[in-house]
Assembly symmetry: C2
């Protein structure tokens, strides 16, 4: 944060500090070469300093060659005529990966997903070629013109009805007979999960999670002051019910957060009978199940698996989903069917940010109704399966002897176990310097287990992907 | 919540329960008259019940006249040929306003703002005629077509740079020299406030707030497990610094949440010198000030008042704003300059919902850069001042003898004190039945003070407004 310029910060250096502030704004691109900076009078008024002070400051900037005065017009940022000196090389501090908090690392993995200079094997996001972006943007465009004032008005919780109707229809494919009023729209699936956690838990409460599980869930649990209890999870069959049953006897558990369909990062899907058992086991203890079904429509087989919610008889399953993996991450449109917690979730949504942006909701509703979503999904699922196959083969070819990996049935993540002794956080750092982002295993555990695991994203595939996997394999093999 | 249909819920009645579910979906509008319901085969697969069961269920619905079978085509929802029986009259339960939780009441006030059947004197939202909705929607429309994949991708925190540049420029008008990187974009101002509270407080901590203050702040404080400490606040001069100083000596305070410019609901603006004192007083105790400046650009005078942030030298002031009151509530675009808490807020934003929707951000950035925002603001400020004057005169004319009211210097709320003994919650209920929504005083206090106060919205003005104020005055005068 930058402190404002203070009249009382010492008369002598006041104009200098004004000059420094303006200089900083120029450096940061707020005023670009050739653009006019605020007039002397305006800046004087805005900062509450005298006209003389601003004049002195601008004089200083002129002397330094940062701005130029143009008669009758004002002060302008000078274009840099001479080549600037080269930037110093990238810093090379001693690497101590554990010094970076998991929170920072999560932010880096998420942000790096859209860094065009990196091969995006980190966050599991579908590549732009897999998404119907142009069509969706055209629909948004048409909706924005057509809807007028409605598009600019709040869509207070539960959110746009047209969208809830579509989500309810699609939930039928997952075996859930939801009515539109059983659904709240949210700013993506993550918000659906956070609101569900808040509706069911108080600070200090314990949430049972799959192990490993999606890192941003763990971040949410931490931020909300909750505790995560890791339950052993089979790569293909999901959460161990025996372990969960045992845990329920040993310790108070206030909610269970799971990804029964195409688990992240494991890629497996709980068999149907096991979903039913899971729901019944938790219901027997009156414990809510927060079900992330974000990958539910991204299975590699013909049939879309049912959600655990399909077996809910007590309103204890909170089904969360979004279109971030199938249509557009940046639209931030998701939903939750919160069962008996529906009213609380609506209230929490209003407290957090009042409502989800209206026009993205209306555009997604229109796409789901008339945009050929099912045809698109078939194509997307095939592409995801194909890319997963290519990625798996590349790992098999290039990773060190002794590497293991999952056999995902859907979703975009491949979970890779490196030979013991290889540190995923070190590999993460090395990969980053080689222009590749990956998701290191310790992110997926509150206790930072999975030191020798990484999750790779199959959502992008391009010429450079196979090469990047080869580089990764080489880096992993380095001592 | 609705339970899914269970094979094991007893063979005998299974087809009946399938029929009930479908019937409910029809009633709720998911399948409309003339539309086809799922095929027998599809529903059997989706719900995991036998084809025979679905056939029996559909047969039952046919018998009841809800659906009809069309040969070679499937089952269709029948249009209701006979008039349905009239709805029962509106219920008239004994009215016990305190039985409604403040949370529910807040939801009602917020939702009712967009109910076209009510005169919107509740939530302070500008009327559609005051906002440049068509122009903004056209810009969004153009941006959506132009930006392609960027528009559908995550704009991870701190958010779209083009928008942060614009917010930084405008902050200069408030006396704050912020760089784009000092800003995080959010889903509206409320989210900026919630993230700021989360970044600075832990459950159990105490937040000093103005009294009265905006109800959704109090909801956020409650949801986060914090405690609110009410500080006496002058209608025109804001927070009492003497009282705050005293409170700081008596009790640990972890943050102060205030609206120095055009307070909600009071409408007053702290004098500049007092803002500086407030910032210094809190800084002396190392306590962050969360500053809501959502109405900062909505003053009735020529000059835009400076923000308290302009006097921040320690990075302790977190300046929150949005375009919800000046451009489009439903775009959900806001921001916070979080000072030394910048990194935490970025992280919390990612944990909550990853990012703000991209295209609304880009559209607002474009409007701020090239949409004639300043011209629009001048017009908006004049209209708001004019409507506030009309509303004040109407209250003076029609409300009972002994009524008091504020003299707002900006914003959209008029705070009205009714003669003692008049219960604002009762008036709220009566008004609602008369087709008028208002914001009752007790919402603005964690202890539900202000029993005989209401806040009225000056953002809308139409033919029916003056009449509604007259009705309100009459209802208030009733015993």
């Amino acid at each position: 944060m930058r402190t404002a310029v203070q009249e009382n910060s010492g008369r002598g250096c006041l104009y200098q500090s004004v000059a420094e502030e303006i200089s900083r704004l120029i450096d940061q691109g707020m005023f670009r070469p050739g653009q006019r900076i605020p007039s002397v009078r305006a800046l004087s008024r805005q900062l509450g300093v005298s006209v003389a002070t601003v004049l002195e400051a601008y004089g200083l900037l002129e002397d330094r060659g940062s701005v130029e005065a143009r008669p009758q017009s004002g002060y302008y940022v000078r274009s840099r005529s001479r080549a600037r000196p080269a930037e110093p090389d990238i810093s090379a501090p001693a690497m101590s990966p554990t010094a970076v908090s998991m929170g920072e690392l999560v932010m880096m993995v998420l942000r790096d997903a859209s860094n065009p200079d990196l091969v995006p094997l980190g966050a599991t996001i579908p590549g732009p070629d897999l998404l119907p972006t142009d069509r969706l943007n055209r629909i948004l465009s048409a909706v924005a013109r057509r809807k007028g004032a409605q598009g600019a008005s709040y869509a207070m919780p539960p959110g746009c009805e047209a969208l809830r109707v579509q989500f309810a229809r699609r939930a039928l494919e997952a075996g859930c007979t939801l009515a539109p009023d059983d659904i709240v729209t949210t700013s993506g699936c993550q918000e659906a999960i956070v609101l569900s956690l808040q509706a069911t838990c108080r600070p200090g409460d314990t949430v049972a999670v799959e192990s490993p599980t999606y890192y941003n869930f763990l971040q949410a649990i931490e931020v909300l002051g909750l505790r995560a209890l890791e339950i052993p999870t089979h790569p293909r069959e999901g959460l161990s019910l025996d372990a969960l049953r045992y845990a329920l006897e040993q310790t108070p558990i206030h909610a269970c957060l799971a990804i029964p369909n195409f688990n992240n990062p494991l890629g497996g899907s709980m068999p149907e009978e096991k979903k039913r058992e899971l729901v019944e086991l938790l219901a027997g203890h009156e414990i809510p199940l927060i079900e992330d079904d974000i990958h539910g429509e991204l299975g590699f087989a013909e049939e879309r698996p049912r959600a655990a919610k399909a077996f809910d008889r007590k309103g204890l399953v909170m089904l969360c989903g979004s279109v971030s993996k199938t249509l557009a991450p940046g639209y931030r449109v998701g939903w939750v069917a919160a069962g008996r917690f529906q009213k609380q979730v609506e209230h929490l949504k209003a407290v957090h940010n009042l409502a989800t942006a209206t026009l993205p909701q209306l555009a997604v509703a229109e796409f789901l109704a008339n945009g050929g979503y099912d045809r698109h999904l078939r194509r997307l699922r095939k592409a995801a399966a194909r890319q997963m196959e290519w990625l798996s083969r590349a790992v098999a070819r290039h990773f060190p002897e002794g590497t293991k990996m999952t056999r995902p049935q859907g979703g975009l993540g491949l979970w890779v176990e490196l030979p013991p002794g290889i540190d995923a956080l070190v590999l993460y750092e090395r990969a980053l310097r080689a222009g590749i982002t990956i998701a290191p295993g310790p992110l997926f555990s509150p206790k930072q287990r999975y030191r020798n695991f990484v999750r790779l994203n199959a959502g992008h595939w391009s010429d450079r992907t196979e090469k990047a996997v080869k580089v990764l394999g080489g880096l992993a093999a380095q001592p």
